[in-house]
């Protein structure tokens, strides 16, 4: 078989997996929120509510697609696709496991994997900025201004927090980093880096308590106030896929990827990976059910005055320790 057919097949499988898991992440979130709030959550659409995501998606697809008169038509229509495509593109290089020979299960194995992921996710935020701006309306504009500020303050801290991992692993390829964690998962030596990463990851994906970009009770629906139907759905998908991405990264970079803890290799590596990702997803939902939203300016000062100095210190400390040990 020519190589591109294999890539196509791999991509198709992966796309299916990611779409399914994002759809059910949404359902599980609604269920978990329900349980935390003493109620059952969706349970009428299909058995146990399992068809709820399908119904939501089909409904959004069939909903009228409005474009406000004041909007910039091209950018307005393009923006959701920017968010969506970049959200999915990341999965081209995320490995989910390894064959016994050590080759990673991924569509492509890139040397500078982590850098590529950071680059792609940075583009994703343009979807939000442009979408808000191009709507030609005031609340979306405020939302996109917030997202711009949030992007600048949090990408930096996130990048810094990852460099510690790179120093320890000595490589930027994702499967290299996972292999480096066979003995010790990096969240132990890089605990500060891990905490910073988790915090910034929540901010990056605009999830509660950092959901300022769409802060429902302040900005109505934030940057996507004017979007309806399919395009609104695309933003929705992008948000959940991003959530999945940062959970995958957390598992890969700090929790040993598909490495089994305590030598419990009876469960295959892929399953371990899924369990770890699921744990982080649950963590996000838990946060959403518990915490109030931060204020916009506090978020900025928290990013600049706390996270970035802390990440820098962590980086310097790691570098010194690694250099000393040789």
């Amino acid at each position: 078989m020519p190589w591109w057919v294999i890539v196509l097949i791999k991509s198709a499988i992966l796309l299916f997996v990611v779409i399914t898991s994002f759809a059910y992440a949404m359902l599980v979130e609604r269920k978990i929120l329900g349980w935390m709030q003493m109620r059952p959550g969706p349970n009428r659409v299909g058995p146990w509510g399992l068809l709820q995501p399908a119904a939501d998606a089909a409904k959004l697809l069939l909903k009228e697609d409005l474009t406000p008169e004041t909007a910039d038509p091209l950018l307005y229509k393009l923006a959701p696709f920017i968010s969506l495509v970049t959200a999915f593109a990341v999965y081209a290089i995320i490995p989910f496991g390894a064959s016994p020979s050590g080759a990673p299960w991924a569509i492509g194995n890139v040397n500078a994997g982590i850098l590529l992921i950071l680059a792609i996710t940075s583009i994703g935020i343009y979807g939000i900025c442009l979408g808000g701006w191009a709507s030609g309306s005031k609340y979306p504009l405020l939302g996109s201004v917030r997202s711009t500020a949030q992007m600048i303050s949090y990408e930096l801290a996130m990048g810094f927090s990852l460099i510690g991992v790179l120093i320890l692993a000595g490589t930027t390829s994702l499967d290299g980093i996972v292999h480096a964690q066979t003995r010790l998962w990096f969240f132990i030596p890089q605990f500060i880096g891990f905490v910073i990463y988790i915090t910034t990851a929540v901010a990056e994906t605009n999830r509660a308590p950092f959901d300022l970009v769409e802060a429902e009770t302040e900005l109505v629906a934030g940057f996507h106030t004017e979007y309806s139907g399919l395009r609104f759905g695309l933003f929705f998908i992008a948000e959940y896929v991003n959530m999945l991405t940062v959970s995958c990264l957390a598992a890969l970079l700090f929790f040993g990827g598909w490495n089994a803890p305590f030598g419990w290799t009876a469960i295959p590596g892929v399953a371990w990976f899924v369990i770890k990702v699921a744990f982080f997803m649950f963590f996000y939902m838990w946060l959403r059910a518990t915490l109030p939203r931060l204020r916009y300016d506090r978020l900025m000062s928290f990013g600049w005055k706390v996270l970035i100095p802390l990440a820098t210190l962590n980086l310097v400390f790691t570098a010194i320790v690694v250099a000393y040990k040789g």
């Binding site: 089909a58 009228e64 979007y227």
Partner: protein, 159 residues
């Protein structure tokens, strides 16, 4: 009259569409008066509209499917309600919740619009002052039924 394969396919697609629309009715966050409190109560633990997949209250009219007119519509609010309805994307449904929204109720005076159906079309009327959350849940059920059967028009949610 024979039914061609294309027509059959269309009919099935229509069923799927109606099923999807009826299973994912997202209401608009629009509270007017007393009934708005009962509208909030319907999301609470004891009633939990989330079971029907309708707990996703959208604040932006563009993303909402269902407008619950919860309370009396004052003369000053009438144009706003009308505008919100116009801003909603098709397909959209309206529940007129409570006596005031349906008919002006006990406030037959200068200030209240006598029935929100004088300004926007209403699909289901819920009687009560205010209706219990169960009443509203039943109305949402009726809306779902209506979507599946493809009809529009004023139904009264009589218990």
């Amino acid at each position: 009259m024979s039914v061609g394969p294309g027509q059959f396919m269309l009919a099935r697609l229509d069923d799927v569409a109606r099923w999807a629309q009826s299973s994912s009715v997202w209401p608009l966050t629009m509270g007017l008066a007393c009934c708005a409190i009962e509208m909030m109560t319907v999301t609470s633990a004891e009633y939990d509209i989330a079971r029907l997949g309708s707990e996703v209250f959208r604040s932006s009219p563009r993303q909402a499917d269902l407008m619950i007119v919860s309370g009396r519509v004052a003369q000053k609010m009438g144009p706003v309600v009308k505008r919100l309805y116009d801003q909603m994307a098709d397909p959209k449904w309206v529940i007129s919740m409570g006596a005031c929204a349906s008919s002006g109720g006990m406030f037959d005076n200068y200030a209240v619009i006598q029935g929100v159906d004088t300004i926007i079309p209403v699909d289901v009327y819920v009687p009560g002052c205010p209706p219990t959350p169960d009443g509203l849940l039943y109305a949402v059920n009726l809306i779902q039924q209506q979507i599946r059967q493809g009809g529009r028009g004023g139904i009264v949610a009589k218990a």
